[in-house]
Symmetry: C2
Subunit: 343 residues, 2 copies
């Protein structure tokens, strides 16, 4: 457990994961899997092997800020596609693929960070077909998929149509422990080989100790019951937060209702800035993430990401009450109808 191991990861763990993937309908062999130092590392490695300066990456708008940080280090440019309650607006994708020849399409398919939105099955199919037709690899980031607590399971993009052009990445951070820093990526062997070469120059391998503990835990069969418990806790906390928002947020704010994951995404009236609220909220010991960081090319000033996963019921209720108060105070200072000459 203390020694060096393979760069691609502890073989029994990779074999176990391959079998799990097969059960899920994803054709994978251990050679299609690399263990990464959190799924965050996969984003960095993918940037390293796929992106040259000024290469284009298609992202949802908004999207996971950590993906933007990783790809930006390789000087990527972003083609943003808007989202609605069914995820990426794939009807706007074809023109972008045709005109800009992007190197990657990055998407969080389940309970997205930051919006909590899940891409519908129909859109997954359209996305997979369009990407395949235009020969652009899809990076399907799925750290939250196991945490579904309402609605029906939707197959991954990877599992649709064989998904040979799809690179799937997952994490154990949301189901077992983020402190081990372990995730994995599933891809064709040719891509895995390049990721392994890149990983060698980055950290040689992910920590052996954690990989072995993880493997023992997984094969103990205890994970499903643990995840079921998580789902109950998160479902309840989501409901407490949604209920509190209904009561304390202003009537002209709206927000997503996630079927899993950790996040609710709130949109305040157009023209407001959530960043401007933050100092007041923090002064009342309530923090949130201002939404604009999740927009690759700017915008979203009136949005915020709320996380309900690790606060008690009492704290959620009190926190949302305080935050609602801060928003209402700022709204009242903010003219509801802007003079026409300003717009």
């Amino acid at each position: 457990m203390l020694q060096y191991n393979l760069t691609e990861g502890y073989p029994p763990l990779r074999q176990y994961l391959a079998e799990e993937l097969n059960r899920e309908g994803i054709a994978a062999h251990e050679n299609n899997i690399i263990i990464t130092t959190g799924s965050q590392q996969s984003l960095d490695l993918l940037g390293k092997i796929f992106l040259n300066p000024d290469d284009k990456v298609v992202v949802e708008n908004p999207t996971y800020v950590g993906a933007l940080q990783s790809f930006s280090a390789y000087q990527a440019q972003y083609l943003t596609i808007p989202c609605d309650d069914e995820g990426m607006r794939v009807d706007q994708l074809e023109t972008v693929l045709k005109n800009y020849k992007p190197k990657l399409i990055y998407v969080v398919s389940n309970f997205s960070n930051p919006t909590g939105v899940t891409m519908s099955r129909y859109r997954r199919e359209v996305l997979q077909q369009l990407a395949y037709q235009h020969q652009v690899p899809i990076v399907e980031d799925d750290p939250y998929g196991e945490t579904r607590y309402s609605g029906d399971h939707i197959p991954t993009i990877k599992s649709i149509d064989g998904g040979s052009g799809v690179i799937l990445q997952r994490s154990f951070s949301k189901t077992i422990a983020p402190g081990f820093r372990l995730g994995f990526t599933v891809a064709p062997t040719e891509v895995i080989n390049k990721l392994v070469a890149a990983k060698q120059s980055v950290d040689l391998q992910s920590n052996t100790f954690g990989q072995m503990v993880l493997y023992e835990y997984l094969r103990s069969g205890k994970l499903p019951a643990h995840v079921e418990k998580l789902r109950e806790v998160y479902r309840h906390r989501r409901d407490v937060m949604l209920d509190s928002m209904q009561r304390h947020f202003p009537a002209d704010a709206h927000w997503t209702v996630p079927d899993g994951g950790l996040f609710i995404w709130a949109t305040l009236p157009e023209g407001m800035s959530s960043l401007m609220l933050l100092p007041d909220a923090v002064a009342q010991k309530v923090a949130f993430i201002p939404g604009n960081a999740f927009f690759a090319n700017g915008g979203g000033d009136n949005t915020m990401r709320l996380n309900f996963s690790c606060a008690s019921d009492e704290n959620i209720v009190e926190g949302i009450k305080r935050l609602g108060g801060v928003i209402k105070r700022h709204t009242s200072q903010f003219p509801t109808a802007l003079p026409a000459f300003l717009i």
Copy 2:
């Protein structure tokens, strides 16, 4: 132990390391330290924050292949300085610094990988002065420093003259356990802040569990006795290997005598290729690393890196005997005096 922690690393561990550094004569505060996923990660992060395509890096020739892999991912070019038994030939450095304005100087100061050679105190001083004068940061890679088993301790370049232009990186892989993937980097706060930003996009943080175990182990006070044991084991194995080489290697081969670390560096007669020997050696179950991988701009075909750290006495003796036999067989097929028209 299972949760997320700070990107820069577990604070008590960083405080502990800062105090250790102070005892060693290196001025450091916890804000001068970042915990990395092995010291390998530091090389990648330094590449990310310092290097643009075609930037120049000064390296010893030969040097650690993992550093070349990391910097090459950022499209670095190398300025190689030859080495002898006192390390980098700093007398050849000034012209290079003047003419090529490199972004970094990379050096393994103690018991180098691959050569086992230690840079003399005089050369460290010259290197530090020249680098400071030409405003080029030195990356001092010191994963083996604790493993000295003969000769006198030499202060790090970092500790000479305050070393404010020196970035020092160390590892726990050689003294405690490589399987935890933990190392650390010491640098001015401004550099640490950039490394932290870069690390956030790379793996968020190094594993919390390992950091806490490491901290508990360090403060238990058990490390010095453990390292003392390692030194005895390694000193003995080095001596067994050197003795075997004396007996079984051809008379026209020569090699380094390391005062610490894990490696002996052998040079075969000019014109031989260690790579060509490898299949024969492996067929006899003896492996080594062909030396040419350690030369940034090619060369060194007649060199090889031997590792004595993890084989038993019997295996070292038998392995060197077989390897010596393979070399001698190849030497005998190899004309000792090449026809002049070939040279």
